[in-house]
């Protein structure tokens, strides 16, 4: 019978134990009448510490577990999940999934992934680097980080704190087609958020660092100082009058623009025809200097995986080459709906990289000349069906390539189709922290609304 991780066990033993639970679940589901089954199990633990104004504020001990199963009776599908791993919960979950599959309707496109697409090669992507971090050490780092921000400048008047987090977890995926594989991974991060005040008005900004290995994190001092610098730069922000002008998305927000592109070429939106990029395969969506790669097998990267959420093998590929769309983002289901093959993107993309251009951040400001540099976006305001884009923004007004003053309470609007065509350059100032790696992106014109 499955139980919790109270006894220390090796990583390999843990994965094997979870694989055994997954096989048991598949056996149970088949016993209850399922034709095909997929079971995913994850367990994890972590520590998260926040310090504020020089003292510890919260210490959180995390311990998570969960199972998710999908069963098929022919092409009828049922799914269930549970945070309980005991036998009675497993039986309840399996029977609920099987009951749903009985009542759901025949969908010829549903089912396990095509067998020939399943991963058979499992390279070590170096994702698991546990950190034996004590609460005391974490508190000290968080305080050091926050202090670096608080005492950076007199204008820093308050703080939301410094925080340090460390998580490690293991996941296993098994299917009734014989796939049963698992791996462990770690994720460590440190962040800081401080408030500056000048002439009675406040601004807040933050910075963070994240890595698979603790040694790859930026130092507490670097993170704290960056948070303070970013906050101070925003003080005395003003609005702008309504106008049309060039807009440069700083690297830390430019990933979002690429995220909207990914949403528009995701299978679910394509087969529902709720995308502004229907039938965009082999179409020129971006200027010819834009190349976007998916790199699932990068060692230690945050988005790396040798197979997707269904077990389909990932591989490096071009999603955009010379501005032309080379492939969609598909799961097995959406691929079948479109008459295509899965691109191993069930659960999302893996390390999307926009190939960096020649120019650095300052050179791009010079290239823009006069316009808006955006460093923060708020609100939803993106319509994937029409491509219409309208979001709240904050950043800096730039003239002759030089930052003039911070701006806020403005919106930027356009249509993503035009915005992609109107990209002037991509910087070499790549932000490597997230699943989308890109430098700053300069767009020739958008509508800015303000006071």
């Amino acid at each position: 019978m499955p139980n919790t991780l109270t006894v220390p066990e090796s990583n390999e033993d843990k994965i094997n134990r979870l694989k055994n639970i997954a096989s048991d679940i598949i056996t149970e589901a088949k016993k209850q009448g399922a034709d095909h089954v997929e079971a995913a199990i994850s367990v994890g633990q972590g520590l998260s510490v926040n310090a504020r104004l020089g003292e510890v504020e919260t210490i959180e001990h995390h311990r998570d577990q969960g199972i998710a199963i999908t069963v098929y009776k022919g092409h009828k599908k049922g799914a269930a999940s549970s945070t309980k791993l005991n036998q009675s919960a497993i039986e309840e979950m399996v029977s609920a999934a099987c009951a749903i599959a009985r009542y759901a309707e025949e969908d010829p496109f549903s089912g396990l992934p095509d067998k020939e697409l399943l991963a058979t090669d499992f390279p070590d992507l170096s994702l698991y680097h546990p950190w034996s971090l004590s609460a005391e050490e974490a508190i000290k780092m968080a305080i050091d980080c926050e202090n670096a921000a608080r005492f950076y400048d007199k204008k820093i008047s308050n703080s939301e704190g410094g925080s340090v987090q460390s998580f490690e977890g293991s996941r296993v995926l098994a299917t009734s087609d014989g796939f049963n594989h698992g791996y462990s991974s770690s994720r460590h991060s440190m962040s800081c958020s401080v408030i500056g005040e000048h002439k009675g008005s406040m601004q807040r900004d933050y910075w963070y660092t994240v890595a698979r290995r603790a040694a790859d994190l930026e130092s507490a001092i670097q993170v704290g100082e960056m948070a303070a610098k970013r906050t101070i730069k925003r003080l005395d922000a003003r609005s702008l009058s309504t106008r049309k002008c060039p807009v440069m998305f700083a690297a830390e927000v430019a990933g979002g623009l690429i995220g909207h592109f990914v949403a528009a070429i995701r299978g679910g939106n394509l087969y529902r025809k709720s995308s502004f990029l229907l039938d965009s395969l082999q179409q020129q969506v971006f200027p010819s200097f834009i190349h976007i790669h998916e790199q699932p097998l990068l060692p230690q990267a945050m988005g790396s995986a040798s197979y997707d959420a269904e077990g389909v093998a990932t591989s490096a590929r071009h999603i955009v080459a010379s501005g032309v769309v080379q492939g969609y983002v598909l799961s097995s289901y959406s691929a079948r709906k479109l008459g295509m093959k899965s691109t191993a993107n069930a659960g999302g993309v893996h390390n999307l990289t926009v190939e960096p251009g020649e120019l650095g951040f300052d050179q791009m400001l010079a290239q823009m000349g006069t316009g808006l540099l955006v460093t923060e976006l708020i609100g939803q305001g993106v319509n994937t069906l029409t491509g219409d884009y309208s979001r709240g923004a904050a950043g800096f007004w730039v003239e002759n390539g030089q930052i003039q003053y911070p701006v806020e309470e403005i919106t930027i609007a356009g249509n993503l189709k035009d915005m992609y065509q109107n990209i002037v350059s991509v910087g070499n100032d790549v932000d490597n922290r997230g699943n989308t790696r890109t430098g700053s992106i300069l767009i020739s014109e958008m509508t800015l609304a303000g006071s």
Binding site: T4, R52, E55, V56, E57, T58, I59, E60, H61, R63, D64, Q65, K77, G78, A79, A80, S81, S82, T83, K84, L85, A89, M93, A96, A97, I100, Y103, A104, N158, E160, I195, S201, M202, Q203, R204, T242, R272, K273, S274, I378, G379, G381, N383, L385, T386, S390, R391, G392, A394, E409, I410, T411, I412, A413, G414, N415, T447, A449, G450, S451
Partner: protein, 480 residues
């Protein structure tokens, strides 16, 4: 009446082999010198979702979630641990790691356990059992067929039906035990329409603390369907939205998301205790026009944001935030209330046992004024009439907030004109309500669709307002 507590005991504790005196033992371990506040929060929920698409019910999901969260607070410091395993040794181990937050001391003495039952705002029922699986599937298919008959331009229909049965039991440091059984249902109808090659999407839905009969009775489901189709057809003819500062009239009901973003978050106790909100230290000041009275009310029967008792065992209440323009009070959980020398307002909420409680909104709304909605529209020479919104966000420190219109019309010479495409509206929280020059007599609540996110935690909420006129707000369209 301790009926609910007995039910919670039998649903959560009994299967784990626990009795209330075991929880007492864990609490004694937790309560030591230097601990100001502690709680043990048990939660067991069952939820399901059904999705119809392409005319067939193709997806169903059933989720079991259960666990316990253990918290100890000393001054401003919080220690927290949680576990999916409810066995006594796990609870004691979690209590040990959590109490280290305070200076170690003698074990405290507990007051005898007191069971405390609040009046219930909704029935202790299981929505999942309110229809059979067969009935759920045939209901979705019926609504799909009827939706497609509304208009030939309807191309795609996606309908989802979600039900949650959640049982919570919380013991606090004073030995009080409270519990709640919280039903929640939600339905959504999303359509895509096409005409002359132009496609538009829209959705409509609702729900509350009921069983599924909320949708099957009174044609409610078809009300959502007709609204989704109407909205999508309106969008087919929408022109580019204007860009710039202008007079904005907000419709009644769901546009109350304005209150949630512009002032609600900024009046949550944690931000104000820390001084990080644009509203910090401003109690007693005019922050809105005298026409505005805004409350947060967790006591409305059956509403999505309502709670008979909050996640810290405090009875829900109606808290006046702004009265005739004057800032009256903040929304508190127990910790922030204690640190600010006030009482909890019953706003201590958490997404689950695996998350820490924080001050959160329930149902936030503006009380009705005296103007006729028609008079409000006819008073505007040039402006925007925004009646539906997709969502919003706020930076509570700078006070800047946005909310995104999904149905809006130009107003020209006092008349509603052409529909415009979705656009984000942006403003400054502490200013926006000072620019309210007319408040309608038509207070309405949203249909039960809101989910609020804060520090990564989602909780169901409600909003409401009458028709409002705001003299100046920035509209983020493309037509400059």
């Amino acid at each position: 009446m301790s009926d609910l507590i007995q039910q919670a005991e039998s649903i959560i504790l009994k299967p784990a082999g626990l009795v209330i005196s075991d929880i007492d033992a864990v609490m004694s371990r937790l309560v030591s010198t230097g601990i100001d506040q502690a709680d043990i929060y048990f939660q067991a929920s069952r939820s399901e979702s059904w999705v119809l698409e392409d005319g067939i019910v193709k997806d169903g999901n059933y989720n079991i979630e259960q666990g316990v969260g253990i918290r100890a607070v000393s001054g401003e410091k919080t220690g927290f641990a949680y576990s999916e395993e409810l066995a006594l040794p796990n609870l004691l181990e979690a209590a040990n790691s959590v109490r280290a937050i305070a200076q170690r001391g003698q074990a405290g003495t507990l007051k005898p356990t007191a069971k405390h039952q609040m009046p219930a705002l909704y029935a202790a029922m299981d929505p999942l059992a309110s229809l059979t699986r067969e009935q759920k599937v045939s209901f979705l298919k019926l609504i799909d067929q009827q939706t497609r008959q509304i208009d030939p331009r309807v191309e795609q229909v996606i309908i989802s039906l979600v039900g949650v049965h959640e049982v919570v039991l919380v013991m606090t440091e004073d030995g009080q035990v409270s519990s709640d059984i919280r039903p929640l249902v939600r339905m959504n109808v999303s359509v895509i329409v096409e005409e002359n090659g132009r496609r538009e999407q829209a959705s409509s839905g609702g729900g509350g603390r009921h069983g599924y009969e909320h949708f099957t009775n009174n044609d409610t489901a078809m009300t959502y369907a007709r609204e989704a189709v109407r909205l999508a057809l309106v969008n087919l003819t929408a022109i580019d939205a204007p860009a710039g500062n202008m007079t904005v009239v907000l419709g009644s009901g769901w546009p109350g998301i304005l209150l949630h973003e512009a002032i609600g978050h900024g009046l949550e106790g944690d931000f104000n205790r820390k001084g990080s909100s644009a509203f910090s230290g401003r109690i007693g000041e005019m922050v809105a026009s005298p026409l505005c009275t805004v409350v947060d009310d967790g006591t409305l029967e059956h509403r999505r944001g309502s709670l008979s008792v909050d996640d810290e065992g405090v009875q829900s209440q109606c808290t006046t935030l702004i009265e005739k323009g004057v800032l009256k009070g903040y929304m508190h959980d127990k910790m922030n209330a204690r640190l600010m020398g006030q009482a909890s307002t019953g706003n201590g909420r958490r997404e689950s046992y695996a998350h820490l409680p924080m001050p959160r909104m329930t149902n936030t709304y503006m009380r009705a004024g005296h103007s006729e909605p028609g008079d409000i529209i006819s008073s505007v020479k040039n402006g925007l009439y925004a009646v539906n919104f997709a969502g919003g966000q706020v930076d509570i420190t700078s006070g800047k907030f946005v909310f995104s219109a999904s149905e809006a019309y130009l107003i020209k010479d006092g008349k509603i004109g052409l529909p415009v495409k979705g656009a984000t509206l942006i403003g400054n929280g502490p200013d926006v309500l000072t620019k309210v020059s007319m408040v309608g007599n038509d207070l309405e609540f949203d249909s039960g669709v809101g989910t609020c996110g804060k520090e990564g935690q989602s909780v169901p909420v409600g909003v409401g307002q009458p028709t409002l006129k705001i003299d100046a707000l920035t509209v983020g369209g493309t037509h400059a």
